[in-house]
C-alpha cells in the first residue's frame, strides 16, 4: 500500500469543515443546519483518522468511532427536537424560533 | 494476466447467471405458490409454462415507460437503479467455490453490510420521488423497517465473525470445515434469516408494498422496465441472501462427494425455496408488531447471542 501525505487528508478535512461551518451559518432551515453539523463532525473524524494513520496507530480510528457515536446521539435528539418544534410552531426556521432570547 | 481474465470471466458468468436466475424465479415463485395454494399457476406457455418468463420480459420491455409529471424526476429515475447496483455488487464478495470469488476482501462482511444499508435507499427514494401518499407511506415504512432490521442483521453476523475470526467470507467458509456454524450459531442464524426477510421486504415483512393497504407501496407510480428493476432486484436480493446464509451458516461450498459449486448451488436453491414457501405460509403482521418484535425481542436475543459466543470463545482459548 502506497503512502499518502498526511497534509492532503488534513487539508481535505479542513475544506469539508469550513464548508460545514458555512452551511451552519448560512442555512436557516434547522434540518440543513443539522446536516451541516454532520458535515463538520465527519470532517473532524477524517482529521482524526488521518492523524492516526500518520503514526500507524488505531487511536485515530477509535476517536472516529466515538465521533460516530456522538453524531448518532446528536442526530437522534436533534431530529426529535426538530419534529417537536415543527409540530408546535409549524416551522423549522431557526431564526423564527428565538423564544429563548435573554 | 490469466488472473484478470479469470476474474472477468467470473464476473460475466455471475452477472449472466444471476440475472437469468432472477427471471427464472418469477416462474418458480408462481408455480410454487400455486402448488401450495392448491391451484395450477402458469402452465400454458411452453413446457410447464416456462415460456411465461419470456412473455413477462417482452411485456416489461415493451410497455410504455411513463414518467408521471408530478414526480421528482432525477430521484425517480435513480431509485430503481440503486437496488440493482447494490444487490449485484454484493455478489462480488460471495465465494461460490474455492478460489471462485470476484473480490476476496478482508472486510467482506462489512462491505456486504455497507451495501445492504445503501440498498435501503431504493425504496425510500422511490417512495418519496413518486410524490404520492401511498408511495410515501411505503417509503417511510421501509426506512424505519430497514433501519431497524439492519441493526440486528449486523449483530447476528458478529457471532459468526467471532467464531471464524475474520471478516473474510472465504475464511468464514474455511472455518466451517470442522462443523457448520448453524450448530453453534443457531440463534444467530434465526435472527439473520428474519433480518433477511426484513431486508428483502418479502412476505411476511412486505409492509412497504402491502398491496391490500398501500396499493403497491413505493412502486405504485412505476411502470415498464423501472418496475421491472424493482421486480427483478427483489429476486436478486433473495438469491443474494440465500447465498449468504449458505456461506455464513451452512458451510458454503463444503460438502462430500459432489463438487463444491454444486453444493453451493444446492444449498442456495434450498433457501430460495424456503423464501418462497414462507410467502405462502405466513400472514403479514401489523406495522407496530413488526417493530415491537424487532426491538424488544430480536435485538436482545442478538445481543445475548453475541455475548454468549464471545464468552465461549474466550473460555475455549484460555
Amino acid at each position: 500500500m502506497t503512502t499518502l501525505p498526511m497534509e492532503y487528508g488534513l487539508t481535505l478535512a479542513m475544506v469539508l469543515f469550513a464548508l460545514g461551518l458555512v452551511g451552519v451559518l448560512v442555512r436557516r432551515n434547522l434540518i440543513f443546519m443539522l446536516v451541516s453539523v454532520e458535515i463538520m463532525l465527519n470532517a473532524a473524524g477524517l482529521a482524526f483518522v488521518t492523524a492516526g494513520m500518520r503514526w500507524g496507530q488505531p487511536d485515530g480510528q477509535i476517536m472516529f468511532l466515538f465521533i460516530l457515536t456522538m453524531a448518532a446521539a446528536e442526530v437522534a435528539v436533534g431530529l426529535a427536537i426538530i419534529v417537536r418544534l415543527f409540530r408546535q410552531e409549524n416551522t423549522i426556521d431557526a431564526d423564527a424560533t428565538s423564544k429563548m432570547r435573554g | 494476466m490469466s488472473d484478470v481474465v479469470f476474474k472477468l470471466v467470473l464476473i460475466a458468468t455471475v452477472l449472466l447467471v444471476i440475472l437469468h436466475l432472477a427471471g427464472f424465479l418469477i416462474w418458480v415463485e408462481r408455480r410454487l405458490l400455486a402448488l401450495l395454494q392448491d391451484r395450477l399457476g402458469p402452465n400454458r406457455a411452453g413446457p410447464l409454462g416456462l415460456f411465461i418468463i419470456v412473455a413477462d420480459i417482452i411485456k416489461i420491455f415493451t410497455k410504455e415507460d411513463w414518467i408521471p409529471p408530478f414526480i421528482d424526476k432525477p430521484v425517480f429515475v435513480a431509485a430503481p437503479m440503486i437496488i440493482m447496483v447494490t444487490a449485484l455488487l454484493s455478489f462480488a464478495i460471495v465465494p461460490f467455490a474455492p478460489g471462485a470469488v470476484i473480490l476476496d476482501l478482508d472486510i467482506g462482511v462489512l462491505l456486504f453490510l455497507g451495501l445492504s444499508s445503501m440498498g435501503i435507499y431504493n425504496v425510500i427514494l422511490a417512495g418519496w420521488a413518486s410524490n404520492n401518499k401511498y408511495a410515501l407511506l411505503g417509503g417511510l415504512r421501509m426506512a424505519a423497517q430497514m433501519f431497524s432490521y439492519e441493526v440486528f442483521m449486523g449483530l447476528s453476523l458478529m457471532g459468526v465473525v467471532t467464531l471464524a475470526g475474520s471478516f473474510n467470507l472465504s475464511a468464514i467458509v474455511h472455518a466451517q470445515r470442522e462443523g457448520w456454524f448453524i450448530v453453534p450459531q443457531f440463534l444467530g442464524f434465526l435472527i439473520f434469516f428474519i433480518a433477511a426477510l426484513g431486508e428483502t421486504h418479502r412476505l411476511p415483512f412486505d409492509m412497504p408494498e402491502a398491496e391490500s393497504e398501500l396499493i403497491a407501496g413505493y412502486h405504485t407510480e412505476y411502470s415498464s422496465m423501472k418496475f421491472g428493476m424493482f421486480f427483478v432486484g427483489e429476486y436478486i436480493s433473495v438469491t443474494l441472501f440465500s447465498a449468504l446464509m449458505t456461506t455464513f451458516f451452512f458451510g458454503g461450498w463444503l460438502g462430500p462427494v459432489l463438487p463444491p459449486l454444486a453444493w453451493f448451488c444446492v444449498k442456495t436453491a434450498g433457501f430460495i425455496v424456503v423464501f418462497i414457501v414462507l410467502r405462502a405460509a405466513l400472514p403479514r403482521p401489523r406495522y407496530d408488531q413488526l417493530f415491537a418484535f424487532g426491538w424488544k425481542f430480536i435485538l436482545p436475543a442478538a445481543l445475548l447471542n453475541l455475548v454468549v459466543t464471545g464468552a465461549l470463545v474466550l473460555w475455549k482459548s484460555s
Binding site: 500500500m1 503512502t3 499518502l4 498526511m6 497534509e7 492532503y8 488534513l10 487539508t11 479542513m14 464548508l19 458555512v22 451559518l25 448560512v26 436557516r28 432551515n29 434540518i31 440543513f32 443539522l34 446536516v35 451541516s36 454532520e38 458535515i39 465527519n42 477524517l46 483518522v49 488521518t50 494513520m53 500518520r54 500507524g56 496507530q57 488505531p58 480510528q61 477509535i62 468511532l65 457515536t69 456522538m70 453524531a71 448518532a72 437522534a76 435528539v77 431530529l79 427536537i81 419534529v83 417537536r84 408546535q88 | 430521484v75 462489512l110 453490510l113 455497507g114 445503501m118 435507499y121 425510500i124 427514494l125 418519496w128 417511510l140 426506512a143 433501519f147 439492519e150 449486523g154 471478516f167
Partner: protein, 175 residues
Amino acid sequence: MNTVFFIAAGVAVISTLLVICHSNAVHALLYLIISFSAVAVIFYLMGAPFVAALEVIIYAGAIIVLFLFVVMMLNLGPVATAQEKAWLQPRMWIGPSILGAILLALTVSLLWRGAPTAAGGAEVGPRQVGAALFGVYLLAVQLAALLMLAGLVGASHLRRRELLPESETKTELLP
C-alpha cells in the same frame, strides 16, 4: 494512489458544496451520501478499511436515512423548496464565506508550514481497532454507551404525547 485520492477528494468537496447550497432537502441529502462515500474511499486509501465500512454503514446508511425519514415525515413539499430559495440570498453568503475562508486559510497555512509527512503506511484493520477499543479505551466505550442511552431517553421523551399541544393530543380513535 494520489490520483484516486484527488478524485475522491474532489467528489467529496463538490458534493458537500452542493449539499450546503441545495434548496431541496432530499437532493441535498443524496449529495451528502456521495460526499460520505467519497470520504469512505479516502479512509480505505489510507489503510483504514474498518472505518471506511463504518462510514458507509452508519453515516451514509443510518444517519442520513434518519434525516430522510424526518424530511419525508414533515413532507414540506415544493413550498419548502421555494422558501429555501428565498432564504438563500446571495448576500447571505458573504459573511459566513469570509469567515470560513479565513478559517480554512489559517489552518491550511498552519498545516503546510513544514514538509509533508507520510500517512497510511500500513493498514490498521478491524482487529487492531477492536483490541484498542476494548482495551485502552474501555472506559470511553462505556461513556459512549451512556451517551447513547441519554440520546435514546432524550429522543423518546421529546416525542411524548403529553408534551404536545392540545390539538395534537386529541386524536379521536372512534367516530
